[in-house]
């Protein structure tokens, strides 16, 4: 009987990497969610096939690649690559190699903490703007109407906001690393 606790702990350690890798491949959060779930279930069902010799992340990435192939097949009905797909073989190899590096998981954990901390510093109006745009998927036109600004002004504010969040994450990571 496979050990669920061990599987769950291994899965949770590599999940952020897999999630990022899937999104980088499909460019769609819902598809990435679906594929992540399908990969998790397939990995759990076949966990006895993981022999423990190589990194767990490499093994589940293999499963995720198969799920991704099935996904593209379903989406395109064999009519060729989707424009959003990464098709450059060297870029694909580089993405795979980066994802298989166990150190990336630690980095992503730190990034998550930094992002959480940065979000605390975002004002409520700015957070609302980000929520409308990123979480609720409202268009620039809708947001512009809601707040009574021009579309270009909304675009600019969102661009600055996102840039600000990114800089905040980088600053915090730098500070933490220097502190360490």
């Amino acid at each position: 009987m496979p050990d669920d606790q061990q599987f769950i702990s291994r899965w949770r350690a590599c999940e952020p990497t897999l999630s990022a890798w899937l999104f980088a491949r499909v460019h769609d959060h819902q598809w990435a969610d679906d594929l992540l779930q399908e990969t998790a279930l397939a990995a759990w069902r076949h966990q006895d096939r993981y022999d423990g010799r190589g990194p767990f992340i490499a093994w589940v990435l293999g499963i995720a690649r198969n799920k991704l192939r099935d996904h593209w097949r379903r989406q395109q009905d064999g009519s060729g690559p989707h424009r959003a797909q990464v098709v450059d073989p060297q870029a694909l190899s580089a993405l795979d190699a980066a994802a298989e590096d166990p150190a990336l998981a630690d980095e992503l954990t730190l990034r998550r903490e930094a992002l959480d901390s940065c979000l605390q510093e975002v004002g409520s109006d700015q957070r609302q703007l980000l929520t409308w745009s990123l979480a609720q998927g409202q268009s620039m036109v809708q947001i512009a109407e809601r707040i009574g600004r021009s579309v270009s002004a909304v675009k600019m504010r969102l661009h600055r906001l996102r840039l600000g969040v990114k800089r905040c994450i980088d600053d915090k990571l730098g500070m933490w690393r220097r502190g360490a």
């Binding site: 669920d4 769950i8 949770r12 999940e15 952020p16 990497t17 999630s19 990022a20 999104f23 980088a24 460019h27 959060h29 819902q30 598809w31 969610d33 679906d34 779930q37 998790a40 379903r74 989406q75 395109q76 009519s79 060729g80 989707h82 424009r83 959003a84 990464v86 098709v87 450059d88 060297q90 870029a91 580089a94 993405l95 190699a97 980066a98 994802a99 590096d101 990336l104 980095e107 992503l108 990034r111 998550r112 992002l115 957070r127 980000l130 929520t131 990123l134 979480a135 998927g137 409202q138 268009s139 036109v141 809708q142 109407e145 809601r146 661009h159 840039l163 969040v165 990114k166 994450i169």
Partner: protein, 450 residues
Amino acid sequence: MSDPHEQLQRWWAGDLDEADAAEVQAWMREPDHARTALAQAHDERVLRQRLAGAPTNPDISTLIMRERQCRRRRRLLTATCIAAAALVVLGAGLLLVMPTSQDPVDATPPVLAVVESVSGAPQWSAPTLETRTLTLSSRLPVAARLALPPGAAVHLRLADGSALDLHAPLDLPATLRLGDTHSLHLRSGVLQVQAAARSAAPPLRVITPHAVCRVLGTRFLVRVDRRTQLNVQEGRVLWEPRLGATRTLSADESATATISGSRQELVVWDFGAGGTRLGGRLNRDAGGEAMDVVGEETLPQDAAGLLVRRDDYVRSTQPPAPPRPQLLGLLQQAEAVELRARVRFATSVPQNLSLATLFCQSAEDAARFLPLRWRGGEQPAGDQVFEIATVYTRDGRQLFLIDGVVVGDNAFAWPFARWNDHIQLMLHQHRGNEGRDLHIVYDRFSLSVY
């Protein structure tokens, strides 16, 4: 590359042309850049999840628990089949000890609501559970979905003590989903909420296709049909229409929300003046009744992106192109979508012809469609122009038909992430008209995205 961070964001949003996308990929060949791209993808995922208040990842423990439940049920079914076969073989009189099942409701924590009274014949279902009749003392887990036929009613008590009266008027079935401990998704029907005071927990909210009603006080009534009407009876409710300004309503105040705000119309198929005439013959095929197109058509180059795999019903001479990323992005972000077609029948139309527009995930979905029948018994005659419209709205990942035939029927829910595979304009013809010629002009086929 000028700004990799911005270019990656634009690529993921579908805003880059092929040349720029190729440039981003060339940039990603460097190991450090690939790592940067993954880090940014990670930030993008987490940021969206945090802002949406969603859990970071699908919980693996829950997935495993559900999978185990499914396996148990499959094993139980297999054992039951074997036992039944053994009974037949061995003859009557042989008693077999059948495996007993746990009540799946008990195995699906947490219980969110208990039924305190019920009238009519309501049903409920939940993920991994089959549909069952709602009875007194039924214990409903998170994600349970209640379906009430017209005239039925049910009184529920939530775990926090809040009382819900769900009622299906005679002209409207009711559908309610218990989202989680603080979210109720009312698709149609009338819901009376008597909210219990909550201290630490998030406030209870009722989510409809048109608005979110967030409890600030105690008692209110929500009715959902093709619009959402809120009447506050006691206390206050924060009213967040999908289109329009958020405001707080106090006792004796009311508000109405529809999908009628700003919209963006995308003409996905416009043949212009004169149109392209499709000659068709009504035939029956293996799937029932259908129309085969025998004429030819010309598809404008720029419309091929979204158009429309027409399968067995209206056969195209040109295969569909993959959907355009920008358009897909727009559609996936839409709060609601209206699909509108203008058609002219150049010949008289047989009796019992109906026409439907629908989004399909796959060819199998086409078999599940219900037609948008002519309203008021009106039947199209020769040279008449008809406008038809179908409105869909989204709830998370599901796409619901809210205008057309049925409100809140489960048959019309598709996973939102995949609904845009193709769109179908479908003719459906009932028995008795086989072999008749039919000429139809499609003038315009458009999507409005809200």
